[in-house]
């Protein structure tokens, strides 16, 4: 699998490469080998003497009134220590990431299939399971509100949240909405300027993050009346902010430590078992552990918003876009979760990386009795990209143009405005990325004489020996924002300590960043090595003893917490040099730290770090705030709303068995501008992983919900790509520095998840000639057997 790096202009900082494990190097992750060997301690491995096991009773109905909850039989079971309902909650009964609309335990009604109603603590998981079965709930089952039509007509179908209890910014069953108008908007006069118009309705199914480590954690009551919580999460501080009020304790009495995280992808941004474990620990005075089973995990976290979208594009005969119109309806399910941010992204990024003089957009998130949806890799941008990229292919076909050329003709670049009016003020090499994937040599055609069934659609299932197979090629490009947007100050904190241990200078980096597998801790060590000229770096466990690191999401951690580590390390460096100036009276202005020494770039070594530091430790903490943004105007969508943009282009080559509707992705090429690859190996891993998750959405991954009920809460029937489904993913990295970002870097984790799906669908479309307006594409779509 080939990988190339294409250097842009000289990087902002001429980065000191003294340590091969500094930035720009690819030291291996400290957790990698342990994970491969099965020795890594995940949150589900936590153990405490005397601990109890917590378990929740969940609703089998998507919408029902709770008439009564009888816990008497459950409490009597030997080994049961506590059975709690919402009546037992000492503090606030609600929580939520942005809008506190979700009850910690259901109050008088349930709004989705799987909502927790009561929790049990027992001395054995089996006892807890039996106790849960003994809780008797009387329901008045109601018809769930699940379709767009039902949601938008609450007078007839009812309210998910009654008007008197409604907490979000919307109304009725609309959780959040955002409009946008750019240029002249879309009017009859504007429409008249277009020579050709293409439009379509598109649909995206409900994808799941499908992390392998189920939700789990351990709550340990402390002597001071507080609580220690060890948990796999994406943002320790925002968990604390939501949990403490429910427990009725001040935030500082709730201390969180990150436990081993088995994947996240957005699914751990919301709380899962945190409140429940803490409530049970608080009540029993004993440590309580909760681990979800796989089926419970599917109910225990939010999913990607399914979307219904309408797109319309007008262009001149020579392919210049004249206008674009879109309406994106996202199903947010029962509770708000991250819906407002998802709507903001869909509205502001939903017309793609194109220059379009006249734009209109409306994005809304509904409340419904479907499972709650919230954060998942690329949110808002993923759904929209399938819409606008399908449109680009339609338009190219209508104009008889090459689909890549059409995109390049309209591609935005640095200095162009987004439909929000925000001018892109760093490189935006959209046309170049497309050219790179287009120029890659194509994989060889199928060799029908030397067939290896593993390379065919169906693989070892032995469905074809070459019959029915047609190849297709498709292209796409996407745009994603990096960091939290719309006025949110998602700062990061880092503490860096430099001291001499065993005769060597050692740096320690302490942040609250959730390492969820992205490789953040590896990068932190690299930054400390480069900035402080040391080899030895230790990473302090992530906890709330240090300030917030913000969320491990929105492609932001290397930018934000990596930036904070850089600034803290620079402060330590400055303090060390200052110490030397005071001691030795140095006057040079070219002092750096390199290879364990303090060096004047012109004059050579001055002193070793060990001698200068002696017994002292320099220990400094810094916060990193990104440049401020503003909320989008509610009606016009205008505003400097995003911190940074990131772009990825893909080319997919697929083989489709057109008789059976089976697909094999043969190759999925990616080109992405990463600004600066702090750890090229990790960056490539992110791009390949992001492409893989996009492949899943294109051809298999969907939570199937019928009348509000989840039908496939297992890995038997929620399918994610296996190694036989993932093709070679050649990656081209561009490194065009962003002057506003630390080291010029660009967040990388999400852009390929946004862009790769439509390229695969386009390739299938080319092979089959079928329109394909819904993802994931199922064999039924390709064979007319739905």
């Amino acid at each position: 699998m080939s990988t190339r790096t294409i250097q842009g202009q000289k990087n902002l900082q001429d980065i000191n490469q003294a340590s091969k494990d500094g930035i720009g190097g690819s030291p291996l992750r400290p957790d990698g080998t342990l994970k491969v060997k099965g020795e890594f301690a995940y949150s589900s491995d936590l153990w405490h003497e005397d601990m109890l096991w917590g378990m929740a009773l969940r609703s089998p109905h998507p919408r029902a009134n709770i008439l009564s909850v009888d816990i008497s039989e459950a409490v009597k079971l030997p080994g049961v220590y506590a059975v709690l309902t919402h009546d037992d909650i000492p503090g606030s009964k609600f929580y939520g990431l942005e809008i506190q609309d979700q009850p910690a335990l259901a109050i008088d009604k349930v709004r989705y299939h799987g909502e927790a109603i009561a929790i049990v603590a027992a001395d054995h998981p089996e006892t807890a399971r039996r106790a849960v079965k003994k809780i008797k709930v009387e329901y008045e089952v109601l018809t769930p509100i699940v379709t767009e039509e039902q949601c938008l007509d609450p007078e007839t179908y009812g309210y998910v949240h009654e008007p008197h209890e409604f907490k979000s910014h919307g109304h009725g069953n609309i959780c959040h909405s955002q409009k946008l108008v750019h240029g002249g908007g879309v009017t009859d006069e504007i429409r008249a300027l277009a020579d050709v118009v293409v439009s379509g309705h598109y649909e995206v199914g409900m994808q799941d993050q499908a992390f392998l480590g189920p939700e789990s954690g351990l709550a340990v009551p402390a002597e001071d009346g507080g609580m220690d919580l060890y948990v796999a999460t994406q943002w320790l501080h925002v968990d604390r902010q939501q949990v403490a009020p429910v427990l009725g304790i001040p935030e500082e009495k709730l201390r969180l430590t990150l436990a081993g995280v088995g994947g996240a992808f957005g699914g751990r941004e919301d709380l899962s078992m945190q409140i429940h474990a803490c409530l049970l620990a608080q009540r029993t005075g004993k440590p309580v552990k909760i681990v979800y089973a796989r089926d419970e995990s599917f109910f225990g976290h939010v999913h990607r918003h399914p979307a219904k979208m309408y797109y319309e594009h007008g262009a001149t005969r020579d392919g210049k876009l004249v206008y674009a119109d879109a309406r994106i309806v996202l199903d947010g399910g029962a509770y708000a979760s991250a819906s407002p941010a998802v709507v903001g992204n869909a509205a502001s990024l939903g017309h793609g990386p194109y220059n379009i003089p006249n734009v209109r957009m409306e994005a809304i998130a509904l409340y419904s009795n479907n499972p709650s949806c919230g954060a998942m890799r690329g949110f808002g941008a993923v759904q929209a990209c399938f819409g606008y990229e399908t449109q680009m292919d339609k338009l190219a076909a209508e104009l008889g143009m090459d689909p890549v050329e059409l995109r390049q003709l309209n591609a935005m670049s640095e200095g162009d405005p987004m439909p929000t009016g925000q001018v892109i003020d760093s490189p935006a090499p959209v046309a170049q990325l497309l050219q790179i994937v287009k120029d890659r040599p194509l994989p060889p055609p199928l060799d029908l004489d030397n067939l290896d069934v593993r390379t065919l659609p169906g693989a070892l299932s032995n469905t074809s020996h070459g019959e029915g197979i047609v190849r297709g090629v498709g292209y796409s490009v996407g745009i994603k924002n990096v960091g939290f947007s719309e006025g949110f100050d998602d700062y990061s904190t880092a503490r860096v300590r430099l001291e001499v241990i065993g005769g060597e200078p050692v740096a320690m980096v302490h942040t609250a960043m959730a390492e969820v597998g992205q490789g953040g801790i590896t990068v932190h060590a690299q930054i400390a090595r480069t900035e402080l000229g040391v080899e030895q770096v230790t990473i302090h466990p992530a906890n709330t003893e240090v300030g917030s690191a913000g969320s491990t999401s929105a492609s932001r951690q290397t930018y934000m917490t990596g930036g904070a580590v850089k600034y803290a390390a620079e402060a330590v460096k400055a303090a060390l040099i200052e110490k030397g100036r005071r001691r030795y009276g140095w006057t040079q202005t070219d002092i750096i730290l390199l290879g364990g020494k303090v060096i004047s770039e012109a004059g050579g070594p001055l002193v070793s770090i060990v001698d200068l530091l002696g017994d002292e430790a320099i220990d400094l903490t810094r916060e990193h705030h990104h440049r401020p943004t503003v909320p989008f105007d509610k009606e016009t969508g205008q505003g400097f709303g995003h911190v940074q943009y990131t772009f990825c282009a893909n080319r997919a080559v697929v083989d489709v068995d057109i008789e059976l509707g089976l697909v094999k992705v043969v190759e999925l090429t990616a080109a992405q501008d990463v600004g600066k690859a702090l750890n090229p190996l990790s960056v490539i891993g992110q791009i390949q992983g992001g492409c893989t998750q996009a492949l899943g959405l294109a051809v298999m991954e969907e939570i199937i919900v019928k009348d509000g009920k989840v039908r496939n809460a297992s890995f038997t029937d929620y399918l994610i790509p296996t190694i036989l489904d993932v093709p070679p993913i050649p990656v081209d990295m561009l490194e065009l520095p962003d002057p506003h970002a630390p080291y010029g870097l660009r967040g990388v984790g999400e852009a390929p998840t946004v862009s790769a799906t439509p390229s695969i669908v386009a390739a299938i479309r080319q092979a089959t000639g079928i329109a394909l307006n819904r993802i994931p594409v199922r064999p039924e779509h390709l064979t007319g057997t739905l």
Binding site: A293, L460, N462, L662, T722, L724, D725, R778
Partner: protein
């Protein structure tokens, strides 16, 4: 929960007689998953892993006697000559880990309509027998056509255990195809097993995941066997012609009675069965013709 670990077949039968509700466990690839998902809470588990003869196979009188616990990996590695259809089916089961543990006895014990061994066993002919035994009544051979009686139900009694499966050594080409919506580790949306039996002039079929039980496409078998006999094709090895292949596919499709579920629609199952039937027939017939021609 009792955990019973008999060392011999007789001890196992005795244990099963004493605890008829004990759940046998062989590879455990169904049993453990179902226990984790809270499908069963058996009062006792009967572990068959110490009984070495269950993991052995031998060939006697052109019949393979396949021990109930011989894992799929060994079927692929050791038996793809005598049992090509079953070996191909074994290839499609789960992942390497599952194939290292799971076997045909467990597939039969579970009797899921989606079990991949079933279409291959049905196609292998009417002389496939499941050998079961109980302490009280001794051994009996259940013909494969009588084995599957309902969704996840087989014709065994509570005190019986599966010892081995008797499968005639292939006397002609066999094939197996399975539809899944990903390219590995997938439960069948539907599956089809096919075998040519030139010795007795019959053909065998097996349909998986497209009816309450695995089943044979009887009319398709009879139609094709008739055509092969009438036209002297067994002797000539001549081309079948698209009309025959097409008709065979339609009859296989008509034999299914699938449902819509999360894995696929009934309509897709019918459609893809017809395609698999046509393709597997074409492959096996091509192989057969080549054999005839090279012999001639």
């Amino acid at each position: 929960m009792e955990f019973l670990r008999p060392a011999t077949w007789d001890e196992a039968l005795a244990a099963k007689a004493e605890y008829p509700t004990a759940l046998p466990i062989s590879g455990g690839t169904d049993v453990m998953v179902e226990m984790n998902f809270d499908v069963h809470r058996p009062s006792a588990i009967l572990d068959l892993n110490r009984i070495t003869e269950l993991s052995e196979w031998q060939i006697a009188d052109d019949v393979v006697q396949l021990g109930a616990s011989v894992p799929y990996t060994r079927i692929i590695n050791e038996l793809s000559g005598p049992l090509p259809g079953l070996a191909l089916a074994a290839h499609t089961v789960g992942s390497p880990q599952i194939r290292n543990r799971g076997g045909v006895g467990g597939n039969l014990g579970g009797a899921s309509p989606a079990g991949d061994a079933h279409p291959a066993l049905l196609a292998a002919g009417r002389d496939v027998f499941v050998e079961v035994a109980s302490q009280a009544r001794g051994t009996r051979l259940i013909a494969i056509d009588d084995f599957y009686v309902g969704v996840k139900r087989n014709s065994m009694e509570k005190d019986e255990l599966i010892r081995r499966v008797h499968i005639p050594v292939a006397d002609g080409p066999q094939q197996f195809s399975k539809i899944g919506t990903r390219n590995a580790m997938v439960i069948a949306v539907c599956a089809f097993g096919f075998a040519l039996h030139p010795k007795n002039g019959t053909v065998g079929t097996g349909i998986g995941s497209a009816a309450p039980t695995p089943r044979r496409a009887v009319e398709a078998e009879e139609y094709l066997a008739g055509v092969l006999a009438e036209r002297g094709l067994w002797q000539s090895g001549d081309l079948l012609g698209t009309e025959v292949i097409q008709r065979f596919g339609e009859l296989v499709k008509a034999a299914a009675s699938p449902i819509d579920d999360v894995r696929g629609t009934a309509e897709y199952r019918r459609h893809s069965l017809a395609v698999m039937a046509r393709r597997t027939l074409t492959w096996t017939w091509n192989d057969y013709s080549k054999q005839i021609r090279s012999a001639a």
